[in-house]
Amino acid sequence: MINQYKFEDEPELRDLFITVDDPESHITAIETFITYRVVTKTSRGEFDSSEYEVRRRYQDFLWLKSKLEEAHPTLIIPPLPEKFIMKGMVERFSDEFIETRRKALHKFLNRIADHPTLTFNEDFKIFLTAQAWELSSHKKQGPGLLSRMGQTVRAVASSVRGGVKNRPEIFTEMNDYVEIFSQKINVLDKIAHRIYKEEREYFNEMKEYGPIHTLWSASEEDIADSLKGVASCINKCCKATEKRMAGLSENLLPILHEYVLYSDILMGVLKRRDQIQGELDCRVDALANKKTEKDLFSEEIGKLEDKVECANNALKADWDRWKQNMQCDMRSTFTNVAENNLHYYEECLATWESFLASQTVDLHVEEDS
């Protein structure tokens, strides 16, 4: 099945299996929203049970993502599907929209489960296992709104300073890479959508093309069979093209879209690293101007230096991991696209060849008789 998540790291050692399915609409006095069923199966000791079933809404996923970002600012947290799609006339609660979102949410949780660090995150465990009221009360704990705002202000302040001037070369290279990658993946996303659109238009015209031959065969005698044969071939090719389209929309389009979102995430991660660096640089600069009390602050500086080193190492490791997964995903996705097209052409070839064989047999029979 194409929409089942592909294992990245040691598949044999996987001990956490998550599915997202069964979207359900909930209507209250204030709002209407969708919840999804999240089923977890695990053999891990830290989990009290081996199977969990909970219902989550999009808001809950958003919460999880922000908790993960908070806890691991320089790890590459997988992307969530967007809040709503602006382009295209996809209505907020259309079946297509809900299904696309469900698949993306499924992907999101599984990517976290496969991440060597994130998979052991406490909030992740609570997300998977807590009942609705438990989750609500847990959400209310943790840093309040004001302190979160304070963090943001500090982050903005230090980001203005940049943390760019002392940035190690490797992160500048990463930045350059992400800029270009982001451009290219966006263009690829557009191309893929255009291909899908063109294939759909072709499919629509083909639907009309076959039946005309059948209609014609009704006024003919001698060539009626040939005409019906052509009609049947065209109809079969039409179905094959529908399959090809489905392959695109199930595989290539979601992956490219995910990596478009990933490129924004990568930019964000690099910025956060710069901010952490910036905090350190800030303190160091401030200290450079103070002639006294150097010893008092050396501990603080030490802590910040540790923080920077941790962040850098975490990012470096995660970056390598991300690149490997990206390469793997791209390889398998595009190979799959090529396979889809191969199947399409092979199916059409078989259809037309069998028609041709039937026609030339008739010709030989006519010549002999």
Binding site: E205, E208, Y209, M330, W352, L356
Partner: protein, 402 residues
């Protein structure tokens, strides 16, 4: 078929050339002239090839030839000319008559027309046709001297006959019905085919966009770079392949178009039959009424109302001498009428017989040609699929090495 011209003479329309000249209103115009080359097929001594004769003709002269043939042989399903203006075009093709691709396809169509006429057992023997192929100067005057335009039936007359004929041969009625259906279904098919071609073009060409992006992306990737680059190249090949594919399909469309236009030729033969039949019915009706008049005058009974009858009642009967004279005239007319009716009947029957013979010939030709065209279409599709398989097999290999 053994005696037809096509066996004795090689005919080709080998070139097309743009010309400028002055038209009937002395205005400058641009038109295309076509070179017709002919060569005798009979073996020459010592393996020499017979000399090639050639002359130039423009489309309007072909039209004149066809009009002449249609009028002169109304019982024959006369082969149609290729279209005057480009129709059923999809967006990439130009609808311009001067477009080189259109001119090329028209050249082929005109050659096909000449070959069809030359291989028709009746038409190939026509002198005007032979002169068309061999006599450059004075041909137009020759055609006009035959006075064929006078023989042409007016559209109005034909339309009138179609509506009023009482007893046409059922086979012709069915044939007319068939030719209407054929025309309708082939038009529809050609229209949709053009749209399908348009869309197919779109699908292939959009894949061409991959090439550039893959190339630019490969610049920042170490391991994936080669795979991306080479895959991109295959996508370019894929995108470019559609041009030849669709050009070949255009020839298939032209084959169908010929039979679209043939439907009109079939209808013309049916119309001629209806006209002749109507003429016959009118002549019979006229004869009957004259006979009746004659009888009334002879016996003095008035069975039908007539103004003459009324006036003679009001103003007094005519004298026996006057009546005698009238009867005499009528008797002469009746005799003429009966002879005419006899010959019209014979004409009608001959027409039906020879027309139906040509229609059977046409049916066989049509079934053979259309079946072949459909087979060719399948061959084209197979070729397209094989090309697709090759490209995507290569692309898959590149992708799997990323």
């Amino acid at each position: 078929m053994e005696d037809c011209l096509a066996k004795k003479m090689e005919i080709t329309v080998s070139e097309a050339e743009k010309r400028t000249g002055r038209n009937a209103m002395n205005m400058q115009e641009t038109y295309t002239a076509y070179l017709i080359e002919t060569r005798a097929v009979e073996p020459q001594s010592e393996g020499q090839c017979a000399p090639v004769d050639s002359l130039w003709r423009r489309y309007s002269e072909f039209e004149l030839l066809r009009n002449y043939l249609s009028v002169t042989y109304p019982h024959i399903v006369v082969p149609p000319l290729p279209e005057k203006r480009a129709d059923f075009v999809w967006h990439k093709l130009s609808a311009d008559n001067m477009d080189p691709d259109f001119v090329e396809r028209r050249r082929i169509g005109l050659e096909n027309f000449l070959l069809r006429v030359a291989s028709h057992p009746v038409l190939c023997q026509d002198k005007i046709f032979y002169s068309f192929l061999t006599q450059e100067g004075g041909w137009k005057e020759m055609v006009n001297e035959t006075g064929f335009q006078l023989k042409a039936d007016s559209r109005l007359k034909a339309l009138n006959a179609t509506f009023r004929v009482k007893n046409p041969d059922k086979r012709f009625t069915e044939l007319k019905h068939y030719s209407d259906e054929l025309q309708s279904v082939i038009s529809h098919l050609l229209r949709v085919r053009a749209r399908v071609a348009d869309r197919l073009y779109g699908v292939y060409k959009v894949h061409g966009n991959y090439g550039r992006v893959f190339s630019e992306w490969s610049a920042i990737e170490k391991e994936m770079g080669d795979g991306l680059q080479s895959a991109g190249h295959h996508m370019d090949v894929y995108a470019a392949s559609i041009d030849d594919i669709l050009e070949e399909e255009e020839h298939y469309a032209d084959q169908l178009k010929e039979y679209l236009f043939y439907a009109e030729a079939l209808r013309a033969v049916c119309r001629k039959h209806e006209l002749m039949q109507y003429d016959l019915e009118m002549a019979a009706q006229d004869l009957t009424s004259k006979k009746q008049q004659c009888e009334e005058l002879a016996t003095g009974t008035v069975r039908t109302f007539s103004l003459k009858g009324m006036t003679s009642k009001l103003f007094g009967q005519e004298t026996p001498e006057q009546r005698e004279a009238k009867i005499k005239v009528l008797e002469e007319q009746i005799q003429e009428g009966e002879e005419q009716l006899k010959s019209k009947n014979l004409e009608g029957r001959d027409f039906v017989k020879s027309a139906w013979a040509d229609i059977e010939r046409f049916k066989e030709q049509k079934n053979h040609d259309l079946k072949e065209a459909l087979i060719n279409y399948a061959v084209m599709q197979i070729s397209m699929c094989k090309k697709g398989i090759q490209v995507w097999t290569n692309a898959k290999e590149c992708f799997s090495k990323m």
